[in-house]
Amino acid sequence: MAQIVVRDLTKVFKVAHRKAGVWQAIKGLVKREYNPVRALDGVSFEVGRGELVGYLGPNGAGKSTTVKILSGILVPDSGLCKIINRIPWQERAAHVQDIGVVFGQRSQLWWDLPVMDSFELLRDIYRLGPVDFNDTLEELVETLNLSAFLGVPVRQLSLGQRMRCELTASLLHRPKLLFLDEPTIGLDAVSKLVVRDFIKRLNKEHGTTILLTTHDMDDVEALCHRVMIIGRGQILMEGKLKDIRQRFARERRFIVELGNRYVEEEVKGRISKAELIYLEGNQAHFNFDPTIVTPAELLHELSAEFEVRDVLIENPPIDEVIARLYEELAI
């Protein structure tokens, strides 16, 4: 049974606006003009127990608004939202015991206190027993490798260290559901991998249901069973990443190392079955559609015209796929 059920959620924000300039500012004192912004315009989806779902969309598409409604912070204008059979904003206290939230751009730790103090405060806030708390903390400290800086004030932590602590803080009460809003934003490569591995393990070993919003497509590719794409306040597409890729980026990259250097015209003129994307030195990148031409045929054509030293076939980068997808969906 679905743990998260969302039907026809709408949320309209009123945004004050005025034109630039002093006179407009003075006018604004007397009469404010508001523009309605439809952040959510009939969003529906379901997430089952133990799923790890990516929630994607360009900036301003309504991702954070959805997460805030799911965590009971915002009240929608209309629509239904049930999480473990509760309506978040109506049974807030019971609801928040079951969920953990990480807002990647915000902090829930007390800035001037050692991390451990924040954890102990959360222990009291969530009424955790000392045994449960210690067990959970020990496990988190070990998997996220926190022991070296538990006594360090939060303001002195690096962003990567802090994000690991934020994750810990959100999981101390062992929530059944975890909402991650851009958890890897601004992290270096190593920290990203640590966080990513941890999310994967949490989902696998504890069966925690996770909803992940991110702009990092590598996160999505490494983690998500399924993705939903939101734009203009609506879910425009959902499915497995593989399927989306197949639908929007059927072509493959065919990268060839040639025996000599060529100029673009020379190569373009002699190859008809694939499209030359770019040429750098003696490396040529082609796009081809495997339903029209097989790699073998393409290689055959190429080696008839050129000396081919090496061949590499790969998927187009996921970032490109998503960018094209946004473009095609016009969001």
Partner: protein
């Protein structure tokens, strides 16, 4: 109610606030200076007046010192941290905790009022009780007056925290809090008796002053300590403080509910 959590929040906030030692020292110096200025003005005023005043000079001087010692208890402004939470949008996290937000902020307000008071009051009491020349010193109260003062001070703390929390909640509308934190001290210092002891203000104003909530902050405890009010009056004054505290808490809760409904957590 999750008392343990609120106590923990209060403790943490308190710990953070008492670590500003330089601010505490500066505070002590300022309060001593202001105390002397007020005492000298009062003395000049008493010696130049031929009318019988409603309180003796000795009582008025004691009143001033109590006021200065307990200055940190006055609700001058809101909690800067809460203001930051609201401005930056981090308030989102406060909203997804299994806590009542009003109580959560109230616990912090208590810490915000107690911490600076603890730092300033003790040294100020020591100086004004034992180190000053007899005629300018604070007099040691009788034990019943002292007990009444303790009760009245507790009442002042809860009242002051309710006002502080109202200021916190008002940030949901104004965001910067600048306006209120300039306007409020003017109101609070005058009507609480911080500037001029309330009994010395004109007779016609006395009724209004005792009806306003602010008298419960400085005037009430100071009058019990100096013996200007008999300890037996404590029940009436405590009731007055309590009623105002309850009214302000109910008002604050309503405002918070309204504020949260229109809250848009900004950005990201």
């Amino acid at each position: 109610m999750n008392i343990k959590a609120y106590m923990a929040i209060m403790r943490v906030r308190f710990m953070l606030l008492v670590q500003y030692r330089v601010a505490a020292l500066a505070g002590i110096a300022t309060q001593l200076m202001f105390g002397f200025v007020f005492v000298m003005i009062l003395e000049a005023f008493y010696f130049s007046s031929t009318v019988l005043q409603p309180m003796s000079l000795k009582e008025a001087i004691g009143y001033i010192w109590i006021g200065q010692a307990m200055l940190g208890m006055l609700p001058w402004g809101g909690d800067a941290e809460i203001q930051n939470l609201i401005r930056s949008g981090n308030v989102a996290y406060e909203l997804c905790r299994p806590l009542d937000l009003y109580n959560h902020w109230y616990a912090r307000a208590i810490a915000l009022r107690v911490a600076p008071t603890v730092l300033r009051a003790l040294p100020l009491f020591l100086v004004s009780l034992f180190l000053l020349p007899q005629e300018y010193a604070l007099e040691i109260p009788t034990s019943t007056a002292f007990l009444a003062w303790v009760l009245a001070t507790l009442g002042a703390l809860f009242l002051g925290s309710a006002i502080t929390n109202l200021i916190n909640i008002s940030m949901l509308w104004t965001i910067s809090g600048e306006g209120i934190s300039r306007l409020l001290p003017a109101l609070v210092t005058v009507f609480s008796g911080m500037v001029v002891p309330l009994p010395l203000l004109p007779d016609w104003s006395q009724k209004v002053l005792t009806l306003l909530p602010f008298a419960g902050l400085v005037d009430t405890p100071a009058r019990f300590f100096t013996g200007q009010l008999a300890p037996s009056e404590i029940w009436i004054s405590t009731a007055r403080q309590l009623i105002w505290t309850i009214v302000l808490i109910i008002w604050g809760r309503r405002l918070l509910q309204r504020g949260l409904r229109r809250l848009v957590v900004q950005g990201g």
